[in-house]
């Protein structure tokens, strides 16, 4: 029992001190009909080396972005992670600590969260940010509920250009509280139709949700939508699934967003087959008290030394219980720390250069596809690092299957979420895709048409 220090003998001594003959007596309060009369039916224990072999065998069955060149994005992005990130985040003082309830011995975590909150404000152009939500999709759902708390209205305008899984999560959260989601179509630019937004807005509209870059990689006209929303007394909730775009794209805050949520996975977090990821959540000071999630504030001790604490917890479940702004307790702290370290490493110039590199490589790939026989770029709007390609002959599934043979993981097949785009692929290009890889992709797809 390498994880259980106390030996039989140690336990014996303790049982004597407690004054019982065996540990059985300590479980006497569990009615025997509620006891398990047999051993658990689980595999026998593995030695550490046996475990390592077993886990390596499982992991070995999966593809990884080191052994394949991948063009998948769609809410999970393959960016290079500098070595320093894991060296720092996996300092055990960080990852074996609990939520920083005791500030005197949690200043490392607390100062880091304060820095994280600042970075998210700087990136989003908002005034305040919380310590994290579960992921981008649940952050969006919480934003929708928050808008409802703020203005009591019931309708949510939800463009189809928002990540389909995010829309699904919003639906799952919202309908319990009687909110209604109204879908908005996208245009041939691959962006949300402003006219339709205006048409759909009404005194019932609690908020307009916009994702930008949206699920098709296209950039939305936030300013105009903000104006329209505000005109109708509704809030603008902006979702950003690929936050590297913050490095080169005007911030939602500047465009008039009231709440900005996002997925922070791109910031140094691994793909992890879908999780854990990082829910970004920022808003304006005015809405501070309706905001969900933890907040860290700066203050001082009796000697005037600066320190950081969890604050404004009267919004939270452990104080407010059923009246809380959310039920969230454990959040994604370590992912937020990861983002903080990652952004510190890239910094002011690095993040911009990274975003520019993604933009340029994607433009290069887009140009190539616009010339590639058998394919066309489906939407005309400006994009960041993703775009939609239509395959005129073969089905996306056939194309992808052909690519796998060349150890290329192609784009996401849009038919799954958009019947009308059953002939389309969503391709993502990051700094991790070299020009050779992009050319190889085109060549392979050209062959596969």
């Amino acid at each position: 029992m390498r994880y259980i220090p106390n030996t039989e003998a140690d336990c014996r001594t303790m049982l004597d001190a407690i004054g019982v003959r065996s540990s059985e007596e300590l479980f006497a309060d569990i009615p025997s009909k509620l006891r398990l009369k047999r051993g658990l039916d689980l595999p026998p224990p593995l030695s550490e080396s046996g475990l390592k072999r077993q886990m390596s065998a499982l992991a070995g069955k999966d593809a990884d972005v080191d052994r394949y060149s991948s063009f998948l994005g769609a809410g999970a992005y393959n960016h290079f992670i500098p070595a320093a990130v894991s060296h720092l985040v996996f300092r055990s003082e960080f990852y074996t600590a609990y939520t920083p309830y005791q500030p005197e011995i949690s200043q490392g975590t607390l100062q880091a969260i304060y820095e994280y909150q600042t970075l998210i404000c700087q990136l989003t152009g908002m005034e305040i940010a919380n310590a994290s939500m579960y992921d981008g999709s649940s952050a969006l759902a919480e934003a929708v509920l928050m808008a409802h708390r703020i203005n009591g209205r019931q309708e949510v305008l939800m463009p189809r250009a928002v990540h389909p899984e995010y829309r699904m999560v919003c639906g799952t959260y919202a309908n319990k509280l009687g909110l209604r989601l109204l879908e908005l179509p996208y245009t041939d630019k691959g962006t949300t139709d402003l006219k339709q937004v205006k048409a759909a807005l009404s005194p019932r509209t609690s908020c307009v949700v916009v994702q930008s870059p949206n699920f098709f990689g296209a950039l939305e006209m936030l300013e105009e939508i903000a104006e329209a929303a505000h005109g109708a007394g509704a809030l603008l909730v902006v979702a950003v699934a690929e936050p590297v775009s913050f490095g080169i794209v005007r911030s939602p805050g500047e465009c008039g967003a009231d709440i900005v949520v996002g997925e922070g996975q791109s910031f140094g977090n691994h793909l992890n087959f879908g999780g854990p990821y990082l829910g970004l959540f920022a808003t304006q000071e005015a809405y501070l008290r309706s905001m969900p999630g933890r907040l860290v504030g700066q203050t001082e001790d009796k000697h005037g030394r600066t320190g950081y604490v969890l604050t404004l917890s009267t919004r939270e479940q452990h104080i407010r219980r059923e009246k809380a702004t959310s039920n969230i307790c454990t959040n994604e702290g370590l992912c937020a720390l990861t983002a903080t370290v990652y952004l510190s490493l890239l910094g002011r110039t690095g993040l911009r250069e990274l975003a520019l590199l993604n933009l340029r490589k994607t433009a290069y790939a887009k140009a190539a596809f616009s010339k590639l026989r058998g394919y066309e770029v489906r939407f005309s709007g400006p994009t960041f690092n993703e775009f939609v390609v239509r395959s005129k002959k073969r089905t996306p599934a056939q194309v992808n299957r052909a690519l796998l043979g060349k150890r290329i993981i192609g784009g996401m097949e849009l038919g799954r979420f958009y019947p009308e785009l059953a002939d389309c692929l969503l391709l993502c290009v990051t700094e991790e895709n070299s020009r050779e890889e992009i050319d190889a992709l085109c060549k392979a797809m050209g062959g596969a048409r």
Binding site: N272, P276, I328
Partner: protein, 504 residues
Amino acid sequence: MKDETIGIQGLAFHEPLLFDQGSKGRTACSLPESDVPEVKPERLLPKKLLRHDIPGFPELSEVEVVRHFTRMSQWNYGVDLGFYPLGSCTMKYNPKINEDVWRLPGFSRAHPYQPESLAQGALQLMFELEQYLAEVSGMERVSLQPAAGAHGELLGMMLIRAYLESKGNPRKRVLVPDSAHGTNPASSALCGYQVVQIKSGPKGCVEPHAVAEAMDEDVAAIMVTNPNTLGLFEEHIAEIAKIVHGKGGQVYCDGANLNAIMGISRPGDTGIDVLQFNLHKTFSVPHGGGGPGAGPVGLKAHLAPFMPVPVVERKGDRFVLNHNLPSSVGKVRAFYGNFAALVRAYAYIRSLGPSGLRRVAEVAVINANYLMSQLKGHYHLPYDKFCKHECVFSDARQIPHDVHTLDIAKRLMDYGFHPPTIYFPLIVRGALMIEPTETESKETLDQFIAAMKKIAEEAEREPELVRSAPHKTKISRLDEVKAARQPNLRWKVKTSEPERSSSS
């Protein structure tokens, strides 16, 4: 370890904010040269969508970043540094091998949308983990999607709601004992239910008559925590379940405290319909300073049709994701769950096996009762009976000396320990909720007991020493009122001095 206290003082390092360091143009990253044409951004994006700079953003070299976070890490207390008896949080040791295996490229570098044929390892792991958790809890299916315990609670209540809706009426209220964790009522509310509080009985357990009184056809469910937040097993759980079921309600179990009964009693066998696991408690996933964790939800067959999508299924020797569940509640987050946490829990279960998991529960309970038996004489014990994973004391005996739970907690730091959970559960005034877990040695418990006794003495002899604690930490108690009254939630570019980095 003689009688030196573990808590001493040593050299630490002042470290300013990221934003108050560095200098213009520094960076710790080196990006590859662009291998594509270096087109001007203006030619790729409309001007009005372009951003030119992020004033005040950090500008640091690698060594500066490394020192920043290395120094800050040393201001933290973690399980790897010492005893962390935070009640209800099960701060057990996090095995190092688990931190290596989740990082295997096939797990950490796998994309959620990569073809199922290229994700068979990940899917198999999820499929088997579901089976393991079902077996441990006595439930029939498990959803691995929720990111944390509260998230699991929410999903659990959603399942109940969907089930009741399918029966024609979602109902209005949920019964929650007064000893419950705050997330229970909050999750119910988030699911559209009114919360009705049930008073715990004199022996710290929920009493059947209290449930019977509150139970009617408008009550959707009861949320019980078992073992509960007093560290006690809800003895009447079966009877309570019968009462609730009798009126067509469902029984939710907050399974955060499963650590005490693994292999000994299974919630599924006690009448529970739904429960959440906290993998970051019971199954050794590190808490990460506030997450990420994972809060899978176990459920009985009648709730299976409503599970969130996708679910992992086995087709012959292949594993597939089934997105097609017509009556599914939908999704509570994107993709499949906190996979990296699932990997750790899987590794933990495979390391311990059936005998090991049972041993975990036994030793966790022995440790808790040993602590209780040794501290009894020195601190007020509101519910004096054998406990399970934790024991709850109060400051009743110290209050006469104007020494309060908070003071005791802070003073423990000087002795080198993390304080217990304090002022929770709410039904105990000034609660000190102590959960040692099975990964602590008798010697460590004895050191902690000695410290607690010493503090009880100090409370009588030199109360001011306790009231002004901690004395050895980098900072002393912080002004929380100021923090809340004048919220300072972010660094701002000083308007006085021209903003550092944007100069030039």
